[in-house]
């Protein structure tokens, strides 16, 4: 009897734990938060907006959008140096315009730009404050501008659609209209640009971006990406008006006025319209690549001995041009034969200190560290490590080379002024082309460029070198596909747009760009 009771008790115990075990299997998120608003949940719009800003850091590095915009032109080459920088051929392919849909940097650019669009959508569609929504709409327009410029078509998600749905796709023309309408809708809701910090969305930045889109509208709305491009006079006048609306000023100090935009404390420059903020030793993008992508291993600061400029591009600069060679006062971190710190580095490189034979550097093969203007796609022989003139666009932050204080300039007043000059030259209403060209040249210590389209194109190449605009300019001026030193052939017109990354075609609404 007792035994039966115990057995019964045991059975009940088992059944009890059976029922404890039965569960509804709802998934829990324990180390994050649900981002699903379909069930009436909310998301943290402030945090998401912050994250959308941090997406701008992807522009800091040497790859991605930056490489697609500079290395695909005559301004920059990424030579393979023996065992260094082959990287599956990605850099050579960009420079020679032979990329394919599996290109890693193309994929990286696509993912970076559009995942940030998504963050902006989250803020806009999920109850962000009026101010947050305005900023998010500006950022979204910026990311979409880059998508339209690089890829033509642009995928989007209608508000309220499920994440499981394949995104829909705008044509290049539709996406351009969307960007313009968005910017015009919010430009007056954005705050004024703050002194000493242009890293937040502001009225000036929206005006700049509107000017940029109107200037390129002839390209973006062309039925054939290869043109012909028609630049409507009304659009050009809009460019002039938006530039005129800017509150920025140009620091006309010879030399240092230009370089104040690229120093570690460049947030103080009144010329910067919009930037990606970096904090010394703290959070930031891969800003160190601005010196390390070029510098040799044995230089100070040491680098990865990669990218260079091409002789033809370098020869656009007058020897006196302070934009190409400049010794930042009180700053002798990098030493080239002229004792210059920044700009293009050519010839023998030296250890820190005085320029003396005893301080001449050697490369890792014990050849003199002399950067030569001659460079090939695959370097070899005695100049294996030294071929190619290097560029130092930003002034390295000596206090923290790896995680510097320099903000990344995304929009600059010089660019706006040159856009205005170009727009007027292309038929827009306005004046001051000669003054603009003269001011920029005087500051650089050279004579002004001719007030023609060719003159403006050349001046853009000098003033804005390695700032990420060369591809956009070259296409607008019809020079992108042309034969050049390391690409001795005219490229197929399909290369005016990058291919849609192969991985993206899992979205059945996307079709590959023509020709790929």
């Amino acid at each position: 009897m007792k035994r039966n009771n115990i057995i019964k008790g045991f059975l009940y115990l088992g059944i009890a734990s059976f029922s404890i075990g039965c569960t509804n299997l709802d998934e829990k998120i324990l180390d994050g938060v649900s981002n699903d608003t379909s069930g009436g949940g909310t998301i943290n719009t402030a945090g998401t907006l912050q994250s959308a800003y941090e997406g701008l850091r992807d522009f800091n590095g040497q790859g991605g959008v930056y490489a697609l915009n500079e290395m695909s032109t005559d301004a920059m080459v990424g030579p393979t140096r023996g065992g260094d920088w082959d990287d599956n051929g990605v850099w050579r392919q960009i420079h020679t315009q032979t990329w394919a849909p599996d290109h890693g940097e193309v994929l990286g650019a696509w993912n970076s730009l559009l995942s940030n669009v998504y963050k902006c959508n989250q803020v806009i569609e999920n109850g962000g404050t009026t101010a947050q929504v305005a900023e998010a709409r500006f950022l979204r327009a910026w990311y979409y501008y880059n998508v339209v410029d690089l890829f033509g078509q642009a995928p989007y998600r209608p508000a309220g659609s499920a994440l499981t749905d394949d995104p829909k796709v705008w044509s290049r023309s539709e996406a351009t209209d969307f960007i313009i309408s968005e910017l015009e809708a919010i430009v007056n809701s954005l705050p004024n640009r703050t002194a000493n910090d242009a890293s937040t969305a502001n009225k000036d930045a929206a005006h700049f971006l509107l000017a940029k889109v109107y200037l390129n509208k002839g390209v973006f709305k062309a039925s054939n990406p290869a043109g012909p491009y028609t630049f409507d006079a009304a659009d050009m006048t809009k460019v002039v008006q938006h530039v005129d609306a800017l509150t920025n000023t140009l620091d006309l100090t010879v030399g240092s006025g230009y370089w104040s935009n690229f120093q570690p404390n460049n947030n103080t420059s009144n010329e910067i319209i919009f930037s990606s903020k970096n904090i010394q030793g703290g959070a930031g993008g891969n800003m160190q690549s601005k010196w390390r992508m070029c510098n040799h291993y044995n230089q100070t600061p040491d680098g990865w001995n990669g990218f260079a400029t091409v002789a033809d591009y370098y020869s656009n600069f007058n020897a006196a041009d302070k934009r190409a060679h400049y010794a930042v006062p009180g700053y002798t971190f990098t030493v080239d034969p002229n004792g210059n710190g920044v700009g293009f580095l050519a010839g023998q490189m030296y250890k820190l200190g005085t320029v003396a034979p005893a301080n001449a550097l050697k490369d890792r093969n014990n050849n003199p560290l002399v950067f030569t203007s001659a460079v090939t796609l695959i370097t070899s022989g005695a100049t294996l490590e030294t071929a190619g003139i290097r560029g130092m666009k930003y002034v390295p932050d000596a206090a923290n080379v790896g995680s510097p204080d320099n903000d990344l300039v995304l929009m600059r007043y010089s660019d706006a002024l040159l856009m205005k000059a170009e727009a007027i030259t292309r038929g827009g209403t306005g004046t001051g082309v000669a003054t603009i060209l003269s001011n920029l040249a005087t500051r650089a210590g050279v004579t002004a460029a001719a007030a023609t389209l060719d003159g403006i194109y050349a001046e853009r190449g000098r003033e804005l070198w390695w700032e990420g605009w060369r591809r956009n300019d070259a296409i607008r001026f019809g020079k992108f596909l042309a034969a050049r030193a390391l690409k001795p052939y005219t490229s197929d017109a399909k290369y005016l747009l990058y291919p849609i990354p192969a991985d993206a075609l899992f979205n059945s609404n996307l079709s590959q760009n023509p020709g790929y």
């Binding site: 057995i7 039965c22 051929g89």
Partner: protein, 979 residues
Amino acid sequence: MVLVTILCTSLTYSQDVSGTVSDASGPLPGASVLVKGTTKGAQTDFDGKFTIKNVGSNAVLVFSYIGLKTQEVNVAGRSNVNVTLKEDSAELKEVVVIGYGSVKKKDATGAVDQLSAKSFDNVGAPSPADLLRGKVSGVQVTSASGEPGAGASIRIRGNSSIRSGNGPLIVVDGVPLDGGDVSSGSDIGLGASSARNPLNFINQNDIESMSILKDASSTAIYGSRGANGVIVITTKKSKSKEPQLTYSNSFTFSSLASNLKLMSSAEFVANGGANNGGTGYKWEDAILRNAFSMNHDVAFTKSTENSSTRLSIGASNTEGIVNKTGLDKYTMAFNNSNDFFGGALKVDTKVNYSSLRDQAALISDNAGYIGNLIGAAMYWNPTNKLYNTNGTYNVISNTYINPVQLANAYTDYTNTNKLLASVKSTLKLNDNLNYQLLVGVETSTSSRKFQLDPTINIQNVAQASSGSTTKFGQANISNIQKFNKTFEHTLNYNKTFNDNFVMDALAGYSYYQYNASGNDMSAKGFDANQMNLIDNIEGGLQTEFRASSWKNQVELQSFFGRVNATLYKKFLVTATMRADGSTKLGKNNKYGTFPSVGLGYKVFEDKAGLVNSLKLRANYGITGNQEFAVNSAVARASYGNNGSLNVDTNANPDLKWETTTSSGVGVDFGLLNNRLTGTVDYFQRDTQDLIFPVPSAATQPGPPSPRFVNLPGNLINKGLEVSANYKIIDSEKLTWDVAANASFLSNKMENFAGFIQAGAVDGQGLTGAYVQVVTNNQPIYSYYMYEWRGYDSTGASIYADAAGNDASLGLAAKKLIGKQGLPKMNLGFSTNVTYKNFDAAVSFYGAFGHYLYNNTANAYFFKGAFLGGRNVPASVATSAQAQGDPNSPSTKYLEKGDFLRMGNLTVGYTFSGATLEKMKIKSARFFVNGQNLLLFTNYSGFDPEVNTNKAKNGVPSAGIDYLSYPRSKAIALGLNVTF
């Protein structure tokens, strides 16, 4: 013989015979003693004693006991006959452990192999995975490297998933393990290293048997986790009646097995390398050592009529052949079984506790130009001195690292404590029905601490700026906690209705909960004099502190059932069904159902003649795989620095299991008096609904993380498995067995639209490079790269272009080259000989038909590296390659991976006689074991048995070798004593 026996018997007179029957562990109660040719016999009593009256003086007594070898002894006029029965592995195999029970091998319908402790020939294996290698057909075990305790991939019948999650489910004493990493990986800035093998916690001396369930009819009872096969590990319990103490030890001496030759200082200079004055540098000497390891195990067992207990304690100290590496392991296993209420209730308690201390060197999977420890030791110019005359390290530059300085500057310890405990209560409800409740707990805590001393300067590694000065040193601490619960309720019904219908049935419910959490912290920029960075992490720069933490939970609940029936003693039917639900799945697909059926037909059984037994088997079933990250199905975001909210996952409410439909046929046979036994199996597995993270590019604008979906496509695995066992000689004094197994496997993607990159290649100039793909009509992990054809007159590499013509690198075209990283054939072979007190065993295993990608050679062994001052093999230094010829991934670095290895060679001697009895020793055996003494391969790297983790975007790789921990060869001496 029979005639002689009859003759002899006819000439005899009768007497009473008594004696004691024992086995290796002592007196054996319940053994059967039979007078041959009669029905006369007896069973031994509780003390192993028996008495049979009126036995002829020349009668032959047949002693038998389940699991032990039957012995015949001629009475020869004696009145007292004492016999010690030996274990018989073949007999042991008769009963095989399957999921939720066991079955007689002859009645099994599924493809199940069981390996008992007897056939473990690996001495002191850190992980049970090592014991399986080469032993079971259809099972491939590949270590990531030669490091003690390195992760290993176990593949049963191939790879059925295109991404991770190809490993089998491991069940220890009824508790399914969660399978994830128990400890953390590491990354100090010179590449990441993988976590340790999560199975290291089991002491091999505590394992009674391992059952490998290969086909769907045996794995479908594990439903959504059965698709990759199941390994059921059963730990030892007490078999002896009287108290028994076993002590065993082994002492192992190991050294480098590989013969990878780099240039000596003389050769380096002779071939034009810079002479920096030093001589005698060898990379092996700089970072390797002759290692010494030892193992000690003590086990105590005792049983009474209704209780049995086993307690064991193990301690092992395994030194790796790379300096400052090794694995210290302390284990405790307790096993108690008690009957209550006259056998109506049985309670089995098992507790397994382990404490592991793992020391690692800086050997990462994806080092760059600067290298990891192996890379730095290999590229070091052999004419460089390691030390300056004043005793300090000779520092070349911050990208050309002194290997000894690197070895000494890096410290990396992982401490892991793990408890696996279960209580199983079996209640006999009536003669046919049992209820069983299993409650299991698996809990572990692991802490990995690693640091790079501030004394070393490596570019972009472990340094931080403080004002205008740079400070060095980095410390990381990563903790992982796991707590898993298992509840299983099962009802067993067992009935023999009549001779023609015997049935047993099982029904059950399970609930599992897997909890994991962890945290990581790091700091950089320490005072130059600080040495104990990981223990005083506050010393880092305040701005360089980083911390993160994570936590997740997975719950599963399942309903399952199985019916086994034997009809007319010849037909066997097994039908199983499991319904599994999991929190991880999309909310529209929370449950999946996994059915299977297995059929068997015994054509012959115990028949005399050439063919003694023959059984045909067929099976069909559906199993699942749910190895994807938790929170994959839901929209998830998490907070980053300064309040930013980052979107992590893309919701997919439809996400469901990967389903594998398997079918197979098999034959079990016994020939020549059952001396030749074997099995042949053919199978086909078709995996659909492939779980794959769709690249985020396709879901843009969307979260930057991929979205897990079930891709359309079929991953087909087909294979043939053959295993055979032949007792060539089986006499009292001399036995000789041979066992061999072979598996042939083909693998192909079908109806698949993707072209998925896999097999990342790393090193200088190789950023973003990959050499394998998963695409339609090809085996997974097929090689995709340039075809290399030699050098032109300038020393530039010639490749093939898309049309197949010679081309330079700029015009070359990558293509599928029709070679795969997965072996097409695996072989295992072993033989055992015993002669009187001597025993000897040797085992071989090998893999064939696959190619290895030598990433080490790709990244480090090319002319430009040599001319840049780095050491390479002499053939590279003297090659026609130009200095500037880029080292693009190509077939130049692809090599055949075929190998045959003598895994183990063991010679033992079992002591017997009066001395032992005097010392109260029941048995003692001394052995010498050699591991990895012979290897046949043409592969030029360290070792062809390698699988560096070169996953790309979550898709794993196969057969890529990159600066991995070299394999050792070893000699071990050991002793087993039973008191």
